[in-house]
C-alpha cells in the first residue's frame, strides 16, 4: 500500500498546494452562503465549490495518483464533469422556486413573469 509521503517533493508540494487552494476556495464559497444577504446572491455561492473547489481538488487527486501509481487515467474528470452538469439543475429549480414565491408574495424587487406580446394587447 502506498502512502502520501512516498510522493516526490515537487509533486507533494503541488498536490498540497492544489488541495489547500481548492479547500480554501470551497471554504470561501461556503462563506458566501453566510455572508451574502439575499437568496439570489447566495445562489452563486455553491458554484464556487462545484467549479473552483472541485477542479482544484480533483487536479490534486489526479496528480497525486498519477505520480504514486504511475497511471494516467483521470477518472476524477468524471467528478468534475458530473458536478458541473448536475449542480445547475438544483440551482435552477431552487432559483425558480424562489422566484415563484417572491412573485406570489408580490415582492417588488423581483421581475414579473414575462408576458407574451399577445397578452399585453
Amino acid at each position: 500500500m502506498s502512502h502520501l509521503t512516498d510522493l516526490p517533493p515537487w509533486a507533494a508540494i503541488a498536490v498540497c498546494a492544489l488541495l489547500l487552494l481548492g479547500a480554501a476556495t470551497t471554504l470561501i464559497g461556503s462563506l458566501g452562503l453566510l455572508r451574502l444577504s439575499d437568496f439570489y446572491e447566495r445562489l452563486h455561492a455553491p458554484t464556487i465549490a462545484t467549479s473552483g473547489g472541485t477542479i482544484l481538488i480533483c487536479l490534486a487527486s489526479i496528480l497525486c495518483f498519477a505520480v504514486l501509481q504511475g497511471r494516467w487515467v483521470f477518472h476524477e474528470l468524471l467528478i468534475i464533469f458530473f458536478v458541473t452538469v448536475t449542480t445547475p439543475v438544483t440551482l435552477m429549480l431552487l432559483g425558480q422556486a424562489a422566484l415563484y414565491r417572491d412573485r406570489f408574495e408580490e415582492r417588488q424587487d423581483v421581475p414579473r413573469k414575462p408576458r407574451p406580446a399577445l397578452d399585453e394587447e
Binding site: M1, S2, H3, L4, T5, D6, L7, P9, A12, I13, V15, C16, A17, L19, L20, G22, A23, A24, T26, L27, G29, S30, L31, L33, L34, F39, R42, L43, A45, P46, A49, T50, G53, T54, I57, C58, A60, S61, C64, F65, L68, H75, E76, L78, I79, F82, V83, T86, T87, V89, T90, L91, L93, L94, Q96, A97, A98, Y100, R101
Partner: protein, 93 residues
C-alpha cells in the same frame, strides 16, 4: 520536514472543508426560507464530496473515490426532490 508539511496541509485542507460544511449547516439551520436550507444541503453535499476526495489523497487510497463519484452523479437527486417539492408542493406529479 516535507512529510510534516504534507500532513499539516492535508489536515488544514480537511479542516477547511469541514468548516465549509459547518457554514453550509448554518444556512440549513437558519434558513430563513426553505430554499436557503436546500441550497445549504446542496453545498453540504459538494463539500462532503470534496472532503472525501481529500481523504483519498490523504490515505493515498482510491477506494474512497466511488463514494465521491456517487455524490457527483446522483447526489443531486435529493436536493432536486426538495427543490421540486418547494416549487410544486409535490415531488412526483
Amino acid at each position: 520536514m516535507i512529510e510534516l508539511a504534507i500532513i499539516w496541509s492535508v489536515l488544514l485542507a480537511q479542516s477547511m472543508l469541514a468548516l465549509a460544511m459547518a457554514f453550509a449547516l448554518y444556512r440549513i439551520a437558519r434558513g430563513p426560507r426553505a430554499q436557503d436550507r436546500i441550497l445549504g444541503l446542496d453545498t453540504l453535499y459538494v463539500n462532503a464530496m470534496l472532503l472525501l476526495l481529500s481523504f483519498g489523497i490523504r490515505t493515498a487510497n482510491t477506494v474512497y473515490f466511488e463514494t465521491a463519484l456517487i455524490i457527483a452523479v446522483i447526489g443531486f437527486a435529493s436536493s432536486i426532490a426538495l427543490a421540486k417539492f418547494l416549487m410544486r408542493g409535490e415531488v412526483i406529479e
